[in-house]
């Protein structure tokens, strides 16, 4: 039933009814591991004794590729890491290179970047909500979420022609001007979206099964989060008010009023509530931003050939899933010497073992869902 060395190692732990510990290989092909994650679960009946993540099935060597591409050439690659939040990835990379070049994007570019990034945050959270609900067994929210996501993707498509891997930003600013009616589209979406969020709230928030499945499941205390380096909604749900948009404002975030929602319990329900509130806040940011998009250039003083000075830079942003950091070392040529990416999913996934211990198999999928991982980003 399981490999013998493993059995011998755990023989001393008596299980309920005296049956052997069961090793369940969840994934890499499993409906709810969100890609090709493989989780080795040690089970006592249905109770989880431990989990070990086996990753790398989607490894494409993104960081290594960077060393053989010029700075501009590498930008589309980052879109393929967290493919449900490509815009955020691009923003982080462009800003990091800009920081290395010591230039800044013009204000108009910054505001449009902020709008698109916040819309992307909403799509990322919508995908998370739909799949998370599906993992827990609610079929319908998925389709509602994708319906709304579709509206945002249409805006992306109108803006830059692509829907998923957008490559929306360029180092130094934007390539494309906001199309005619961009503000109206965003405003219309934001108007609708308030009502749509209420749909999800009606379907899930007060549902006793939903509460039962998420309350006190996968609790991660603030100390645990900090020790494991977990960031984003996972950290905030544990009560730590840490959001780079406020803590180290980038893009145009310092211009807008918004709240950082936090939880208290650090359980799956809190993470759900935090992300729901973040969607509302993102909507508010978008509404504020379209009020006053500054006029002016959209591209900063960056030449056709990017040749940063010798040096290194670390820049991080608050991606939908947590802190996304880029560490870039330049040797003065047109290609980076080394790019190291700190993906939020990868770091958050470390918490899985701690979170699933003592829970049931059904909770494992809920916890994988609540961590909101994207395997493209974990494996890079």
């Amino acid at each position: 039933m399981s490999d013998t060395s493993f059995q011998n190692a755990t023989r001393s732990n008596e299980t309920l009814l005296g049956a052997d510990e069961l090793v369940l290989n969840m994934g890499p092909q499993h409906p709810s591991t969100h890609g090709v994650l493989r989780v080795k679960l040690k089970l006592d009946g249905e109770r989880v004794r431990g989990a070990e993540c086996v990753i790398g099935y989607l490894h494409r060597g993104v960081e290594k590729i960077a060393e053989n591409r010029s700075y501009q050439q590498f930008a589309p690659y980052v879109d393929r890491m967290d493919y449900v939040a490509a815009v955020s990835n691009g923003l982080g990379y462009c800003e990091a290179v800009e920081k290395l070049l010591q230039v800044e994007a013009p204000p108009r570019a910054k505001v449009i970047r902020t709008i698109l990034t916040e819309l992307q945050r909403i799509t990322s959270h919508l995908v998370w909500l739909g799949t998370h609900a599906l993992d827990i067994g609610a079929l319908t929210p998925l389709f509602y979420c994708f319906r709304e996501r579709e509206e945002i993707l249409k805006i992306f498509e109108k803006y830059c022609g692509a829907r998923l891997t957008t490559h929306a930003f360029r180092i130094g600013g934007l390539q494309y001007e906001a199309y005619d009616g961009f503000e109206q589209d965003v405003a219309r979406f934001c108007q609708d979206f308030e009502r749509r969020i209420q749909d999800y709230v009606d379907l899930l928030t007060g549902n006793s099964i939903w509460i039962g499945r998420t309350r006190n499941v996968g609790i991660l205390s603030a100390a645990d989060c900090i020790a494991l380096g977990a960031t984003g909604p996972v950290l905030r749900a544990s009560g730590v008010k840490w959001d780079l948009r406020k803590a180290q404002p980038y893009a145009a975030y310092d211009r807008y009023q918004f709240e950082i929602p936090t939880g208290t319990n650090g359980d799956t329900y809190d993470r759900y509530m935090v992300r729901m509130e973040e969607m509302r806040q993102s909507r508010l940011i978008c509404l504020q931003a379209i009020e006053s998009i500054p006029e002016g250039a959209i591209f900063g003083k960056v030449g056709k050939v990017i040749k940063p000075p010798v040096g290194e830079i670390y820049h991080s942003i608050e991606a939908p899933k947590g802190i996304l950091g880029y560490y870039i070392v330049s040797d003065g040529t047109t290609q980076p010497y080394r790019v190291r990416i700190r993906p939020p999913s990868f770091v958050n996934l470390q918490a899985l073992d701690k979170m699933v211990r003592g829970h049931l198999v059904a909770d494992v999928v809920a916890i994988i869902g609540t961590l909101d991982i994207v395997l493209g980003e974990v494996d890079r």
Binding site: M1, E14, T15, L16, L17, G18, A19, D20
Partner: protein
């Protein structure tokens, strides 16, 4: 005629799968063949116009007891249980004893004509004049056999508590 076809069918299935049940090495196969036997016996009950027992057999035996058996078989590791050297002598002695018993019973049945005729009389009530089975059974159960019925229910309660205590893990009881 139809009756006899049905009888031979059910009897054949019962005996054959009972034999398979005893001889199969794989416990799960044994359990499946026991299920078949029990279903065939349920068929025999139906033929004997004991409808309520027929359905009780299916619900309690097949739906309850056998599910319990299969559950335990799933818990108990088969690979350990399967390969063991058998104690040959005991098997031999046992077969002898069983054969003797069989012989004895067959002889008794063969000498049936010497037994009181009442034992082999045909049914005293024709099939279509029998009272409704479940009503009759209920009447008898809740009047003449009320005390045994209550005792049986207490027995089941005791068995339930006993089984829970027995199967309960020691680790769990220490925790609580």
């Amino acid at each position: 005629m139809l009756d006899s076809i049905l009888f031979y069918f059910f009897a054949g299935v019962a005996v054959l799968s009972a034999a398979l049940m005893v001889t199969r090495r794989n416990i799960m196969h044994s359990a499946v063949f026991l299920v078949t036997t029990l279903l065939a016996i349920a068929g025999i009950f139906l033929q004997l116009r004991a409808e309520f027992l027929f359905i009780t057999q299916i619900i309690v035996y097949v739906g309850g007891i056998m599910v319990l058996f299969i559950f335990v078989i799933m818990l108990v590791r088969l690979d350990v249980a399967l390969h063991r050297v058998r104690f040959r002598l005991q098997k031999f002695v046992a077969s002898l004893v069983v054969l003797a018993l069989a012989l004895e019973l067959v002889v008794i049945l063969a000498l049936a004509d010497k037994l009181p005729a009442s034992l082999f009389m045909k049914e005293s009530v024709a099939a279509n004049h029998l009272p409704p089975n479940s009503e009759a059974l209920a009447g008898s159960l809740f009047s003449s056999y009320l005390l045994p019925f209550e005792i049986a229910s207490v027995l089941l309660l005791v068995a339930m508590v006993g089984a829970v205590v027995m199967a309960k893990s020691r680790r769990r009881s220490e925790e609580s």
